[in-house]
Symmetry: C2
Subunit: 96 residues, 2 copies
């Protein structure tokens, strides 16, 4: 079996139908970066609640990695420091 | 292996911390009845979004079985008609 991919998929979620894309990504075992920086606050709440259910069910993890940016990791998948550097260059990591 | 229990667990959810009880129930493979009839509308939204993520992740199902009442079933678990009769007697099934 190949080691899990360490590159994250970046999802800019605007509405609740984006939740399914998120769910399919997590179910496939890939870490996702949920970019909610331009999402309406009420929709942020809904997407975060949905993602909480999703990750709780699958023993995954959610971590806020910048203002409005959440890293969602399936169980057993870690994101490399090189990948975090890539996210930082995109403004998606560390800029709180 | 014993057949899955067909009796549902009835959860009256009032706040978001009840979501974890719900999640643990579903993860244990047991069908749940989520009674939201006396829950604040905003909290209903949050609990339903969380449950959607949970059931989507686990290939479960959600069905509205009465006004403010949702049946949450893990994959491969059906609820018997006798159990639905029991729920109906409690006002949790069919009264739309």
């Amino acid at each position: 079996m190949a080691p899990p991919s360490l590159e994250t998929e970046i999802i800019v979620a605007r509405n609740f139908s984006d939740a399914q894309m998120l769910a399919d990504g997590i179910r496939s075992g890939r870490p996702l970066v949920l970019d909610l920086r331009t999402t309406e606050p009420e929709m942020v709440r809904r997407l975060v609640d949905f993602t909480s259910g999703l990750t709780y069910a699958l023993d995954g993890k959610m971590a806020k990695i910048a203002q409005g940016v959440i890293l969602v990791s399936p169980v057993g998948v870690a994101v490399s420091s090189a990948e975090l550097d890539r996210l930082a260059a995109l403004g998606l990591y560390g800029s709180a």
